[in-house]
Amino acid sequence: MAPDPASAPALQVIDVKYSYGKTRAVDGISFEVSPGEVFGLLGPNGAGKTTTITMISGLLRPESGQVLLFGHEVSAAGGQARRPLGVVPQDIALYEELTAAENLRFWGRLYGLTGAGLEAAVSRTLEQVGLADRAKERVRKFSGGLKRRLNLGAGLVHQPGLLLLDEPTVGIDPQARLRILDVVREQARAGRAVLYTSHYLEEAEQICDRLAIVDHGRVLAMGTVDELRRLVGEGPVVHLRGEAAPGALERIAASMAGVTLISASDSVASFAARDAASCSALVRELLGSRLGLEDLRVAEPNLQSLFLKLTGRELRD
């Protein structure tokens, strides 16, 4: 099941659209994921990430557009087209009455593994997710972090060519999160394509080779982490919180060279500075003004800044 780098991209999503009733959930999203690459879909809840993943996994038929898995259209090729796919859903989808090994054995069988091959795959996966010593324990006794690790294992057991990870680290402790991120990196190093959705920006910055920022069913920006950061600017970003009126902030930005107002709402605002000098001048201006500031912070440009710039709101909104 290992992908062939010489063949077509592991995943091609071409201008797909999908609506729930009158609500457009996905509105013409396109991207590609190559073998060995970790591609991130970033966006707030309701941005269309899960609907996109659901179409990729064959559970929804796109209203228009195409989803190609290793060159085969998912909706036309039936169940066999899904064989190279490993799905790790956002909600833990395991059988709590069964043991960890029994769960992996079951999911392996669904992908055609049998006999000694199945047993070897189960053992290998338990090792990968660090649950070899808990193989015979029922899942209902597991903590949230252990369940998350096994949930990941169930998507890996058949060594898929493309791994779909939908918010795989939601609600777990930092140690379990690091373990999961390690496994994801290992999978990419082994040549597997990984599609990773998250609203944890720092996490995505750490592990994704390329990213697409989505909101309201559309791709707002796409590229490597560095490419996306440059969309904000090379200089520092100033975040402030207080009672400042947006009009006053706009006047400050307009009056200063090398300063751009990225976003402004009722109580928070962000400025992008071209360089350290313009940043210093901006901070002096803000502190000297009578804007009623409660907090002021200077940071390096990151994906949060980009998301603010693109959407005018925090990613966790």
Binding site: S57, L59, V87, Y95, L110
Partner: protein, 420 residues
């Protein structure tokens, strides 16, 4: 096929890992049947609770003996226990029996007394009212006791028939001839004292017309063999509903969606779920039957017929459960609707009382219930070794096929809608 087997094995393994709910469901029939048997056997029918025995009698013989037999009792105690209504024709008797809800019509045929006095084998006819549940059984037993007493009387008077006949006809002698009567009484006393061969073989038989006894025969009635099959079927329906609920649980847990994202198709998933529910229902049926044999000494006929009955009853119950979960949207709705329909169908199908004692309209509706046919199949096994089980099995197969087809079609559309 291997994938479906894996799916079924997974469900069975999950059931075995958490068997408490299933075991409790399996105990329901045993507990209810046991309690009902206890109640009927020990607490009902005390001396003060004996119901009056009522019968319509048609005397076609019109002899002094038959007149005595068909007259209302004069003794106060007997009148309290017995109500006899004489009718002139069979049609009138049938009409009174139906309209006034008498449990039976007793017909004393023409020539009854003469035949009896000549030592010939004669019959009295008992037409039971099938809508009267238990009372016809009492009427039949009363008629058999009457036949026994008359048989003894006839044996006693065996050699004196011609004399009695002439007395009754009033040709040569009459009841006022005291010498003849005294001689007769002395001879009869001597015969009774000797007491030989008075009872067996009986001279009088109680016959039951075929047309009137069609349906459930209550003769030789065994309460548990009637009650327990109904409880088994009701228990199986609860097991089926409990098992089919797993479909909604899997949907809510996300495992259904995850399976649909695998290479297996929605059809295979649905088939596996139906098979796994049917397997658990079948195992439950066998367990409940074995429990019935152990607790109530019930028998279930030849293994082949028993296996067919278990198979087809389980098929029908599984289809019914699929249909319930095709209609509802939540587990709570499934519990409520499934429970109500199961109880109503159990009532209509004769799980708690014979359908024959229900009003005619309910009797007509009862044949639409799964329970009517499944109860019939199991009762046929327990009471007759399944001799007349064929029609029940055919109808169960039809019910199973209809419910499963409809249920699966709706379930597939509801739960797998949009799946590629």
């Amino acid at each position: 096929m291997g994938t479906i087997a894996a799916l079924v094995a997974k469900d069975i393994r999950r059931r075995l890992a958490d068997p408490a709910g299933l075991l409790l469901t399996l105990m329901i029939p045993l507990v209810i049947a046991g309690l009902m048997a206890l109640a009927f056997g020990q607490f009902a029918g005390g001396p003060e609770e004996i119901q009056k025995l009522r019968a319509v009698v048609l005397d076609l013989d019109e002899s002094p003996l038959s007149t005595v037999l068909t007259s209302p009792p004069r003794d106060e105690e007997a009148a309290r226990r017995l109500e006899i209504v004489a009718v002139a024709t069979r049609e009138e008797g049938m009409q009174r029996m139906r309209e006034d809800q008498y449990p039976a019509l007793l017909v004393i045929p023409e020539g009854f007394t003469k035949g009896l006095l000549r030592g010939e084998k004669v019959q009295i006819e008992l037409v039971k009212n099938p809508s009267q549940g238990f009372s016809p059984v009492a009427a039949q037993q009363a008629a058999e006791v009457l036949a026994l007493y008359l048989s003894v009387g006839a044996r006693v008077l065996d050699d004196f028939g011609p004399q009695l006949e002439s007395l009754l006809d009033g040709e040569e002698r009459s009841w006022s001839d005291s010498v003849a009567l005294a001689a007769l009484a002395t001879a009869v006393y001597a015969r009774i004292k000797s007491g030989d061969n008075l009872i067996f073989p009986p001279l009088i038989e109680v016959s039951e017309p075929e047309a009137e006894s069609a349906g459930e025969r209550l003769g030789g009635f065994n309460f548990l063999s009637w009650m327990y099959p109904g409880m088994i079927v009701m228990g199986l329906m609860f097991v089926g509903i409990y098992q089919m609920k797993d479909l909604l649980r899997e949907r809510e847990a996300g495992t259904l969606k995850r399976q649909l994202a695998s290479p297996i198709g929605a059809g295979a998933l649905m088939a596996a779920k139906i098979i796994s529910v049917a397997v658990v229902v079948m195992i439950s049926a066998v367990v409940m039957m074995v429990m019935g044999s152990a607790a109530f000494r019930m028998t279930w006929g030849p293994p082949g017929r028993m296996l067919l009955a278990v198979l087809l009853s389980s098929f029908a119950v599984t289809g019914f459960s699929a249909l319930i979960y095709a209609i509802v949207r939540t587990e709570r709705q499934g519990d409520a609707l499934g429970g109500i329909i199961t109880m109503v169908m159990s009532l209509l199908g004769g799980a708690f009382a014979p359908s024959q004692i229900m009003p005619p309209a309910m009797q007509k509706v009862s044949v639409l219930s799964l329970n009517y046919w499944a109860n019939g199949a199991l009762r046929s096994l327990s009471s007759q070794g399944g001799r007349d089980i064929g029609v029940y099995l055919v109808v169960l197969a039809v019910i199973g096929a209809l419910c499963t087809t409809l249920g699966v079609a709706i379930l597939a559309r509801r739960h797998f809608r949009g799946a590629v």
